[in-house]
């Protein structure tokens, strides 16, 4: 009974919820209002997802709280600072509102600048990688190299202006081999996603259940 309640019932909920949305999309049954039910459940999902946004902060508090309590050498002052930053964001965000001048100031002074810079800093490693790793060692890597160089040259506005033939070459590379290969990958991925969805609905994929007890594994 405990296994039915703790393991099987959540899977039944997944199945029922997913079927509600699938039926709403494909089927019209007179007298059954799938649309209203689906809209309501969908909006529940939005609120539940909002709750999950707290998980990041909670995990950081747990993990870095340990560093602070153990005074991990070379780490604990940074961990303490990180948790202080989280608290500052929460206090200002909740008290002043997310569209307030104070919160906007805080966001622009810290998060925005840091986020933009972290994303862009990969460009340096990429440059080093281009220089050290891009070698035409065989046909496949040579092909990658040639297509890459043509696309790089086309992406440089002045090269495209000075050497116009590169524009249709790059357009062909984009429209034919790139799109076709990506389409093939997309079709394969779509089949995989469908298979995964079905497996989740029938309870064959139980990753979302988390830790399973011995009794639940056998069930």
């Amino acid at each position: 009974m405990s296994v039915v309640f703790k393991r099987t019932l959540p899977i039944v909920i997944v199945f029922a919820t997913a079927m509600l949305f699938i039926l709403e999309f494909f089927v019209t049954i007179p007298g059954i209002d799938f649309k209203s039910a689906a809209t309501t459940v969908n909006n529940w999902g939005i609120i539940l997802t909002a709750f999950t946004l707290a998980f990041g902060a909670v995990n950081l508090f747990i993990f870095h709280g340990r560093h602070i309590s153990r005074r991990t050498k070379g780490q604990w002052p940074f961990s303490l600072w990180m948790l202080i930053v989280i608290v500052i964001f929460i206090v200002i965000g909740v008290s002043s509102g997310v569209s307030s001048g104070q919160y906007t100031w805080l966001y622009n002074a810290s998060y925005f600048a840091l986020s933009a810079t972290v994303y862009s800093s990969l460009g340096f490693y990429m440059t080093s990688g281009i220089y050290r790793a891009l070698r035409a060692k065989n046909i496949e890597s040579g092909l990658l190299l040639i297509v890459g160089i043509i696309a790089l040259a086309r992406n440089a506005p002045a090269v495209a202006s000075a050497f116009p033939p590169i524009i249709p070459w790059e357009a062909w590379l984009s429209a034919v081999p790139t799109t076709s290969a990506q389409r093939g990958i997309m079709i394969g991925a779509a089949l995989g996603a469908l298979a995964l969805g079905i497996r989740t609905m029938i309870g064959r994929e139980t990753g979302f259940l988390g830790k399973l007890t011995e009794a639940e594994k056998g069930g």
Binding site: I46, A153, N155
Partner: protein, 282 residues
């Protein structure tokens, strides 16, 4: 045992990364200090994007998703601003924005500060609005497509939507003539295809990071996206709308840095093949 002396090929293949990064930084800074003014050709995708908006009849309402994060703002921000310039210059079009990114509302404020809608006589709540960040990505898209007011009753500042005239008669995907998405996430760019184009056949203009363009090309080829552009093409859009700004500034820098990359690839391969054919250890 003596140390093996490095050949020219070894030295060419092993330039220290500090030197590489230094050259890269210089190639960024020099064109910024001494602009060259390289010409920028307009690509067919940007022209198609421009024409799609230009052909919208008066009274149309556009849905815009500010779905990008701060990391993508340097690339997508200029495009978002240039397109708003176009929409406001054209006139007669209303814009309802939302965000599927949790930084979207703040980036919307940033874009509006750069754009200055009042220069076109545009007013918040009458000509444009932002209904806020809604969690859940595809859940949010599906919910908003079905019924905006069942999802959210306020704008991003918490003011009831009923107080804004722009929202009169606008409540579901069918009320929108066009969907525009700026995003750094594949979940969002592909999600709109699934939740709005597939379900409601809403015409869809998609602007993503340049690195995401290849994965979105099949959708454009299948006609699910009217025009797929990258934020890197913002300069071209700025030229079309005659409002040069951040996008066009990058043209010189992009040219020089890309030529540097091509040079590095060539040097690396010359070193590799030189070492290989001179019998050196690989």
């Amino acid at each position: 045992m003596g140390k093996e002396s490095k050949t020219i090929w070894d030295r060419l293949e092993d330039i220290p990364r500090e030197v590489l990064y230094g050259i890269l930084i210089i190639s960024f800074i020099m064109p910024m200090l001494f602009p060259i003014g390289f010409p920028v050709p307009i690509s067919p995708e940007v022209k198609r994007w421009y024409d799609t908006i230009d052909k919208l009849p008066n009274g149309s309402v556009i849905m815009v998703d500010f779905g990008y994060s701060g990391g993508g703002e340097p690339e997508l921000g200029p495009m978002a601003v240039a397109v708003y310039h176009h929409i406001f210059k054209k006139g007669g079009i209303k814009v309802v924005a939302m965000s599927t990114s949790n930084e979207g509302t703040l980036l919307f404020d940033k874009a509006m500060a750069e754009l200055n809608p009042s220069q076109y006589g545009k007013q918040y709540g009458v000509d444009y609005i932002h209904i806020g960040y809604i969690t859940g990505t595809e859940s949010a898209m599906a919910a908003v497509g079905k019924d905006i007011r069942a999802t959210t009753t306020t704008d991003y500042k918490g003011t009831p939507l009923a107080q804004y005239s722009i929202m009169d008669g606008v409540n579901e995907a069918k009320d929108f003539a066009l969907l525009i998405c700026y995003t750094t996430g594949g979940d969002q760019s592909e999600g709109w295809v699934r939740q709005w184009y597939t379900t409601y056949q809403t015409p869809y203009l998609c602007c993503v990071l340049a690195m995401m363009v290849p994965t979105m090309l099949p959708y454009q080829k299948a006609g699910q996206i009217v025009s797929l552009t990258s934020g890197a093409q913002a300069g071209q859009m700025e030229l079309l709308v005659h409002v040069p700004a951040r996008g066009i500034k990058s043209a010189d820098v992009i040219t020089i840095t890309h030529l540097l990359c091509i040079a590095l690839v060539v040097v690396g391969n010359i070193a590799y093949f030189g070492k290989k054919f001179s019998g050196g250890k690989q």
